[in-house]
Amino acid sequence: MTRVTAETLSRRQREISVSEFFAKNRHLLGFDSLRKALLTTVKEAVDNSLDACEEAGVLPEIWVELEAAKDTNRYLVRITDNGPGIVPEQAPKIFGQLLYGSKFHSLKQSRGQQGIGISAAAMYGQLTTGKPVSVESRTDRRSPAYAMQVLIDTNTNKPKAIGRRDLPDWHLDHGTLVELELEAKYLKGRQSVEEFLHQVAVANPHATLHYRSPNGETESWARTVEQNPTAPQEIKPHPHGVELGVLMKMLQSTRHKTVTRFLSRDFSRISPQLAGGLAKRAGINPKARPNTVARQTVDALYKAINDKKTRIRPPSTDCLSPIGVQELLAGLTRGVRAEFYGVETRRPAVYRGNPFQVEVGLAWGGDLAGDELAKVLRFANRVPLQYYAGSCCITKAVMDVSWRNYGLTQSRGALPSGPLIVLVHLASVWVPFSSESKVAVADYDEIRKEIKLAVQTCGRRLGQYVRRKARARNEARRREVFNLYIEEVVSSVEAITGKEQKLFRDRLLAISRRKTELAGMLEEAKGAAAGDDLEACENVLVVDPDAEPDAEPDAEPPAAPPVAAEAAADGEDAPGEGGAPAAEAVDSPEHLPPPIPAEAERDPGSQLELI
């Protein structure tokens, strides 16, 4: 063995190309299987579209189209939105450069956080098929739309725009179309694109979604809320959420001239007095320039900030934008056909200096299967989480709850079983994902506790409803039984006495009525003493399945906005009646505004072969 010298080593040391890095770390970014690659691509694009629409104050309408490409295992993904569009100069960077984005540097509740998403999908597509991303966009109706293709130079991580041209009549006033081809696998069922869109529809009732599967099936979810969520506020970091390394970096890059000014201006909840106190305790001259603070001293400052005796107010929480009670109900009713819906929005709380807020929705009964484990729909900043349910803090919190108290069955250490869907939404300026692919929430005590409390509140209302239903059933059954037996008793007494006993029957029926009503009232009174009135509770929506017993079995439940469930795709569902915004069953492609010119009209030359 020859000894390795610094020279030989240096010959081997070189910049690792982004593509190489990507190939080695694709699992971190959600491209570790063909099926997941398709889902991740759709997900990143839809997240971007929704964020862009909301920031620009446009009610989102998004088209997701999947097509099988000519080669096996290749699919064409096309996402169109009616968002603000992208100025041509920015497009290459957005789609062709990893870690480029507006979101990483701000502390603000948004769907994407790192700026990896859509460019990673583009990179994946280019690596597996050699084809660039096609982009079409228009920023307003006065300027023309343009089209271009973006290639990524995998050696330099630099994007390259090619074939830019104007599109004279684009079909939308403003918006963006992204199209990419990638190696993927399309499967229905759990963790599918359909499931993802369905869940997006639940958590984003203000968005209209259209979908076309590779098999040509279409499905649409019309918005049921006519207002965008309030825009989340950007906040400065809270001292408790900052790690030592970040603190050092901030000291180096701040524009403030003194340590006290840096502390009180670059962080939230630090007053100048507190800043001075912190500096003093760390042994730093309050007037010192931030970039001159020595390494060990930064350590002391970090310790002073996190000392138990240092009292720093929790961060302001008005920066969060929860889905909201009515909006969540609207989302649930359009995504799930149930009998009881209950939602709860907790007040914001804080974990490690990061504000967060938990919302929970329950849907019970109706069309849900009664003999299975409950389904948990997990959302972080309105984005569905579909993988690693078992290791997710949300799932654990739902299992922590004693569902038996609410009239459901539950095995030890398992989810409850019954016709139940549990929706949990975690909104935060920084969602603590347990990995870069953003599929599971890390387990923080504060978060788990908040989720549990919200689930319990909803659970109590569900339990109340389930019990009340049982009571009503009891009362009806009791009366039915009594009245059946009364007929036998009366005819027996008539036979024994040899006389018709009409008065006797009337009196028995009267006693029966009085008795059953009394029993019902007693149970009602017991129930009322146990909790608040469900009718008056705005967090609850009940779609009474018995309200219209004569209605067609597939007719829409009258009280809820109709829902386009899977059945809609099969064209079985009638469009909703009764004024509620209806999710229409789109059974012909004409209903799906096709934003894309047909295959033949597109420029065949634009598909450059690479590599």
Binding site: R478, E480, F482, Y485, I496, R507
Partner: protein, 378 residues
Amino acid sequence: MASKEEPATPEEERLRIPARLDARAKIEHLAKKTITMARREVDPYVDIPSRTLSNVTFSKRKKIIEMGDATQRRSLFNLNQARKYMQTLLVARGCTQLLDEQKTTSIRDLYYMTKHTLADGKENTFDGQEESDPIIEDLEVTLGALREELHLFAAKRGSVVGPLTLVDAGDVIDLSRMGSGGWSVPGIVEPETIRFVGHGAKFILLVEKEAVWARLNEDKFWRRHECILVTGQGQPPRGVRRLLFRMVHELNLPLYVFVDNDPWGYYIHSVVKQGSIGLAFESKRMAVPRARFIGLSSFDPAAYDLSEDVSIRLNDQDRARAREILNYEWFRARPWQKEIRNMLRTGVKWELEALSSKGLSFVTEEFLPKKIADRDWI
């Protein structure tokens, strides 16, 4: 269980059926009371004397089991009782029909008379005879009218053979000429149906097992030993018990009970002797305090040198039942305590057929003659 009713309010005076009325009038009384209750807006109910261990007492003087005063209320407007309440009135109605038409029928027939589907098309008034039989007994105790008075009888069971002549429904029958099958005991054996004409017997022998009865009949044991040979095929039905009562009293004969040596055998003897818990209201016209337990005793196998080969090990159920009857007041007598404890100590039980291991006619030629001669009974 004895009912612990809330104190009766004035309009809730206890439903009492006057004893002087006949069965038909008693049922009518019950129906009219029900109408009155409804008129007063009281939930209709019947108070049924409890037929449970807690509601019976053993009369030391009369040496029979007697029923106490505890009743159980059964109301129409109580979900747990409504069905039984309805059934009680249906049975009452069925009996009215029998009485009005002057017909007598089996309790199985009555089950079919009262069984039909309710108006909802799902539920039946009765789901089986085992549901209607206890209701009939409930009605008997409630009305204070016996099954016979309600024109009902159970499926007949039991046979008699021996030097006895009787009139059964007008036919003169000589029970010494009944061949191998004997005379079957009808469900109702009241004097209106059965009258004794004459006899040449010295005692009555009740045998638990029909097979042993057949053995004794084949050997003409009853002729040689001048006895009336009866079997109830297990626990004797009411007809057999009533017949035994009448024979003991009217013919003035002693009664020996010959049963398996196990807790169930002891209890058969006990029911014949002092009555049963469930039919305690019938004790005074069925129980025969003079009845003797002639075997098999738990001491017999040793005394008669029976082989252990033909014994059967006691199972848990046997032991539990033995301990249970040890505590019954009417098993408190020393000989019974000794008898049962000896069985538990030996840990085995013996069937009557075990005697055949000593030879087919051992029971007729040696065992029973010696037991009777030695007055070896309890």
